[in-house]
């Protein structure tokens, strides 16, 4: 992070990354629904149409499959598209393009052509948007070889990861969080990239390793505060990218603490937490003093009712309970 770093929101950090990379590289263009004149459903692209014009900030019809595919084709032709899908929920309409084309093309054609594109989209629950608008699909994208998957939790990472994504020669899925757009923090300057595959320790601790990403980092940190008052010091680690995954940092921590909890806003079955836990069992089996605990959203479509939704998504208290379970301790009341 540069010394002159200012405090900005996660939303503004993303905007800065887009703007700086568009200035730096003429082949970068933006495309998506309502990103130009409307300046984005979450205002991430504010001011960019005015600055760069309609050739580089392109409003599309509601056609996720087609404009995602268009981005792939344009990337094959050497451009660097940044495709905004309004929310991750609508990426399901474009999944065929992402999985069958974007992820495959470099390998399937023997490395003749690459797909240097970014698909950015926010996800997550917590706003009572009900079952079809509350997905955390991180695991679905991470499942696919050929994609890279970045999950920023802070403004600094949002900016640095997006800049890395734009300069990357492969298709990168940048999963933003609807709940973090207003989050403030310092950001890096024009040349501060956050490299893929480098986890960061958000809070050091010796008793248990808590792995969390995106909005769950903040849930885990809130839990860590509560645990500290009971004399339990957890180490909170944010992988920042799921593909590539910085297993060295995660496993190094778990070997020190001998305990791990993986927090993941997605569903439990074959999810991010399940996948990370499997890696940790393989890497740290002999060091573990307790089974790895997972904290996930409930295994249900997201309900609308506020009380049900809050019960369905991971809360600090769930993380506290999971950590205590690895320590074989009761959660104090």
């Amino acid at each position: 992070m540069s010394a002159d770093s200012a405090t900005v929101t996660y939303r503004e950090a993303l905007n800065q990354a887009l703007r700086e990379e568009m200035i730096r590289d003429e082949s970068v263009f933006l495309m998506g629904e309502d990103i130009g004149h409307f300046e984005g459903a979450f205002k991430v692209t504010k001011g960019l149409l005015a600055e760069f014009g309609e050739e580089r900030v392109v409003d599309t019809p509601i056609t996720e499959a087609a404009f995602t595919g268009l981005g792939i084709g344009a990337a094959m032709a050497g451009l660097r598209p940044v495709i905004e899908i309004m929310t991750v929920n609508f990426a399901l309409v474009a999944m065929d393009q992402i999985v069958s084309n974007a992820s495959k093309i470099h390998y399937m054609f023997g490395g003749q052509v690459s797909v240097p594109m970014v698909i950015r989209m926010p996800g997550g629950a917590g706003h009572q948007l009900s079952a079809q608008h509350s997905h955390s699909l991180d695991a679905m994208f991470t499942h696919v070889p050929g994609l890279k998957v970045a999950v920023p939790a802070t403004p600094d990472d949002a900016k640095g990861l997006l800049k890395s994504a734009i300069r990357d020669d492969d298709p990168v899925i940048l999963l933003e969080s609807e709940g973090l757009y207003g989050k403030k923090g310092p950001v890096g300057g024009e040349d501060d990239l956050v490299p893929f595959g480098q986890a960061v320790v958000r809070r050091p601790g010796r008793d248990c390793t808590v792995i969390a990403s995106s909005r769950m980092v903040w849930v885990a940190l809130a839990a860590a505060e509560q645990l500290a008052t009971q004399g339990v010091e957890v180490e909170v680690i944010d992988p920042r990218t799921f593909r590539p995954l910085d297993l060295d940092t995660l496993a190094g921590s778990v070997r020190r603490t001998s305990r791990a909890v993986v927090v993941d806003e997605g569903w439990p079955e074959c999810g991010i937490a399940a996948g990370v836990a499997a890696h940790l069992y393989e890497a740290c089996f002999d060091w573990l003093d307790a089974p790895i605990a997972r904290v996930n959203s409930a295994d249900v479509p997201m309900p609308y009712a506020k009380n049900l939704e809050q019960a369905a998504i991971p809360q600090p208290a769930d993380v506290v309970a999971a950590v205590m379970s690895t320590l074989a301790r009761e959660v104090p009341r």
Binding site: D59, P61, Q128, P303, Y304
Partner: protein
């Protein structure tokens, strides 16, 4: 042969139509208040301005014609006769809601009234409607599947796929493109290559045309004809309704994109005001009758709101109920495990 409704409905039906339009308007206004008070969460998409399109459509259909819609669907449920209490309770996420608080504003369904639901993914419900039409033909019923979607949705590839199959297989379907001229912040001219949407269906050999969606009788007549084609001649039809929504896309849209002059121009064609004039002009209702009806409707909405506010929350213990029609255990977390 089913009897089609006459082009100009009898007086009692005219009064019914007006009452339903008024009910939708008042319900939506109250929903907005409940949202502002923080009792409704999530997205709230109001259909204020689209009452003629909704009521004109529903009044032309048979009660058992399967109807599908988008997230802007409170009016469709009200027009089908769903208890306003159950709708408002759903909006407030209460146990007494029509979907038990699971769906919320965007996902109402009332199967008893053949309202097959509101869906949140743009274009996503159109193939379901195709399936409902398919099932009607398969079973040999006289039902017509009717689906309402926006002009923004019409740009989704899946809608064209459905046009083709409906045309290819002559499914008993009516596609209703509610062209309110904006998909969120995007006006039609920046999203569609051609101004009109109905010719897209015509390209698949579907009878299609466009009508004034602010005129409830014009909508009703068009839908009667479309349903007749589908029911009696077994041919799909497509009707484009030109309309306008008076509020932003949803409650979270500050609605800064649309010009004030444009909004005023469409406000001047308010479907409730114009229809009221028709009723007064033809002596079907008088001022007192209208005032009494409005008071009765306000009472219904007040009652629905009070009912919703007083209704219990959904017990958290029921979080995982209903994921499956045939569950193998009642364990929410880790339910992929088959346990005895």
């Amino acid at each position: 042969m089913s009897a089609s409704p006459p082009p100009v409905p009898p007086p009692d039906e005219m009064r019914d139509i007006f009452r339903t339009m008024t009910l939708i308007r008042r319900f939506e206004e109250r929903a907005a208040e409940e949202y502002m008070a923080g009792r409704i969460g999530g997205f709230l998409h109001l259909a204020i301005g689209e009452e003629a399109a909704i009521v004109g459509t529903v009044s032309a259909l048979r009660a058992d014609d399967p109807l599908t819609s988008t997230y802007r669907e409170h009016g469709q449920a009200l027009a089908r006769g769903t208890d306003p209490r159950a709708i408002m309770a759903e909006l407030l996420g209460r146990a007494t809601g029509i979907c038990g608080g699971r769906g919320g504003s965007m996902h109402l369904m009332d199967l008893d009234r053949s309202f097959y639901g509101g869906y949140g993914i743009v274009g996503g419900a159109v193939p379901l409607a195709l399936g409902l039409g398919w099932a009607a033909r398969y079973r040999g019923t006289e039902q017509v599947s009717v689906t309402m979607f926006g002009e923004g949705a019409a740009n989704q590839g899946v809608v064209s796929e459905c046009f083709n199959m409906a045309g290819l297989w002559d499914l008993p379907m009516v596609f209703l493109i509610l062209n309110n001229q904006y998909g969120m912040g995007t006006p039609v001219e920046r999203a569609a290559a051609a101004e009109d949407f109905f010719p897209r269906a015509a390209a698949y050999d579907i009878e299609s045309w466009k009508v004034d969606g602010m005129d409830v009788l014009a909508v009703r007549a068009a839908l009667s004809e479309a349903a007749r084609l589908a029911r009696d001649e077994r041919r799909p039809a497509c009707v484009e309704l030109l309309a306008y929504r008076y509020r932003g896309h949803s409650m979270s849209d500050p609605d800064t994109v649309r010009a004030a002059e444009e909004k005023e121009r469409w406000q001047a064609r308010d479907p409730l005001v114009t229809f009221e004039r028709v009723l007064l002009g033809e002596g079907i209702m008088d001022g007192d009758g209208i005032a009494a009806m409005q008071a009765e409707v306000a009472q219904v909405v007040d009652d629905a709101t009070a009912f919703a506010q007083e209704s219990p929350e959904v017990p958290i213990a029921e979080l995982a109920d209903g994921v499956y029609a045939q569950p193998w255990n009642d364990d929410a977390r880790g339910s992929a495990l088959m346990r005895p």
